[in-house]
Symmetry: C2
Subunit: 348 residues, 2 copies
């Protein structure tokens, strides 16, 4: 008998709806001897607009007491001037990734049976993107001078460290080694971003020596977008930086049925801090509260959570239940709760 | 009667083959009273491996004497250690773009009739990407310390100036205003790259006031990749930075029939320096010298060249000839020269 102490951040828009289903499925999937305790946190754009608070150090301290975090979606109306400049995204989502050292941003892509792809001939799509989560152009180390004048200069700095790149690359090789295809593709733009590119390439080359059974190749980020729509089956494990990973995981989601199905884990593999699991999609304020949102991405994020916590069997059962549910889906629309109920019921 | 003094850089791999057809078509398309003079320059990976020279200041001076530059493709075997780190790409291609102040990188995307898209339902695809060419993460302002040690830090700096962003954005609005749909989409990642993003967004907002008939919207780079495969018809004129433009133009090419059809212009709108026209594809060393390469992208680059030089009619005739040739293509393969011959013949 053990306990799972989960922090839940439903967030904004459709976040609360999809999270309700994710928790339902988590409860159904957990072994009977595990006691689930959930604590809700109100963070998000709505909370910020009401209270002026996004995420304090004391909030972080509270979150750190949990075994894992499940997040729905955060973000308000993009036209709201009070939410300009990604204040919620950076103050909440990115702050969590950085403060909790989520250096692995894990985003699997599978084209499930019966799911339509916008590609005419997608073939078998089954790969995972291991995106760096705490470095690159996301570090906020830019700056600007003479703002608002004709002489303005605005710089953004991508910071890449041997420490940060190596731990991510090692994780990527471990993922690749655990998969049947055992193939790792480094994605970067080494012909232009030569300093960062060289560090990434040298690190992959060196760590590769320890994984002789993993085949390694390299693609420029621009070329990746081509293969993603012409031959996504060529990918198995992609290792890449924070920004390139952001870009290709949205594309990967799009070709495999949409971000409504894309799950992600913000992982601290060391276990120093709780990892955080969230669907890739946003808060979709336009359909919020209408039970129109597809909770599948949130539910698949639960599978990643279970896997991360060592409940490998439960994780596999959730994935299989989602796959079966998708395979059986017809054209009749179901509510968010109906989808969650069906998947949860199939687990018990 | 006038003269067109063209510098030609056939380059490596399939470059010379496709350029031969492009020049053939240019010759056929030019008004009878225009005398075409071409001067070939040997630059490329092959030239570098033979001579150790990539592009000197004296070479630049020679090139500057021409009305325009037509470039095939440059780049050798990527596994050749002598060509590591994008030495040719940066020393030749990017050096030309920077030295000749090609601040507009113009990349139209059209899905021509009879051309297959990897998308099941591409719909009408007809948009143009106005990519910045002289700033952003391409400036080479990065650096690294403690290289090769566990304490290495490698930084890349994206430099964005009001000067550089405004001239590009103005060009973008002029392009949008000249097109039927009159819609401009700024593409960036303003929620993360806040300094550069803010400069881009403010510049677009300000210039937009001068173009009241152009509709303006904004998309994050990650969201763009989704729409590119689910609804490319939503795009008309995209304005974006150097790196984002690099990424989405390869994706745009892929969804509209492949980089074998994608043309580009590296444009100095001020006319201070010659502009340069090149297919988006690379040198494809694996099929070089076999007359297997499709010269269409190079030929469409000639249309951009003619347009830039003010031969608007001739440009339109080349585009129409390409469109007709594509529409008539069957499954029987033709040689590079056969395609060029057919398109040139249809112009006379
Ligand atoms: C919301 C945004 C800051 C975030 C990112 O860029 O990482 C999102 O796009 C994602 O991929 O999780
Ligand atoms: C070869 C490379 C430097 C170049 C770029 O990144 O601009 C190419 O990809 C392009 O798009 O023209």
């Amino acid at each position: 008998p053990s306990a799972l102490n989960l922090a839940v951040i439903p967030g904004d828009g459709i976040g609360p709806e999809v999270i309700a289903e994710a928790v339902k499925v988590l409860q159904a999937a957990l072994p009977a001897d595990v006691t689930l305790t959930t604590t809700e946190f109100p963070f998000g754009a709505g909370h910020f607009l009401e209270t002026g608070r996004i995420l304090d150090d004391s909030d972080l301290d509270e979150l750190k007491k949990h075994d894992a975090i499940l997040l729905g979606a955060v973000g308000g109306d993009p036209r709201d001037p009070r939410l300009k400049g990604g204040i919620i995204e950076r103050g909440l989502l990115l702050k969590l990734r950085f403060a909790l050292d989520h250096y692995v941003n894990l985003r699997p892509t599978t084209l499930f049976p019966n799911v339509e792809s916008p590609l005419a001939n997608p073939g078998d799509v089954d790969f995972v993107v291991v995106r760096e989560g705490t470095e690159g152009p996301y570090v906020g180390n830019g700056g600007a001078i003479r703002v608002g004048t004709p002489a303005e200069v605005a710089n953004e700095v991508s910071v890449n460290t041997a420490f940060g790149v190596e731990r991510l690359v090692r994780y990527g090789f471990a993922v690749a080694a655990s998969r049947p295809a055992k193939k790792l593709t480094l994605v970067h733009k080494t012909n232009v971003l030569v300093f960062a590119g060289s560090l990434w390439q040298r690190t992959v080359d060196r760590v590769a020596l320890e994984f002789p059974d993993v085949a390694v190749d390299y693609l420029h980020i621009d070329a990746v977008t081509i293969f993603m729509v012409t031959n996504p089956g060529r990918f198995d494990t992609i290792v890449t930086d924070n920004l390139f990973g952001d870009i290709i995981t949205d594309l990967a989601a799009a070709i495999s049925g949409g971000i409504g199905l894309a799950a992600s884990g913000n992982i601290n593999p060391d276990g120093t801090f709780p990892s955080m699991f969230e669907p890739v999609h946003g808060s979709a304020p336009d359909i919020a509260g209408q039970q129109k949102a597809d909770p599948t991405a949130a539910i698949l994020s639960v599978a990643l959570l279970l896997d991360h916590l060592g409940s490998v069997d439960a994780a596999a059962r959730v994935s299989a239940a989602v796959s079966a549910d998708l395979a059986a889906r017809g054209s009749a629309p179901r509510t968010t709760a109906q989808i969650g109920d069906a998947i949860a019921a199939s687990l018990t």
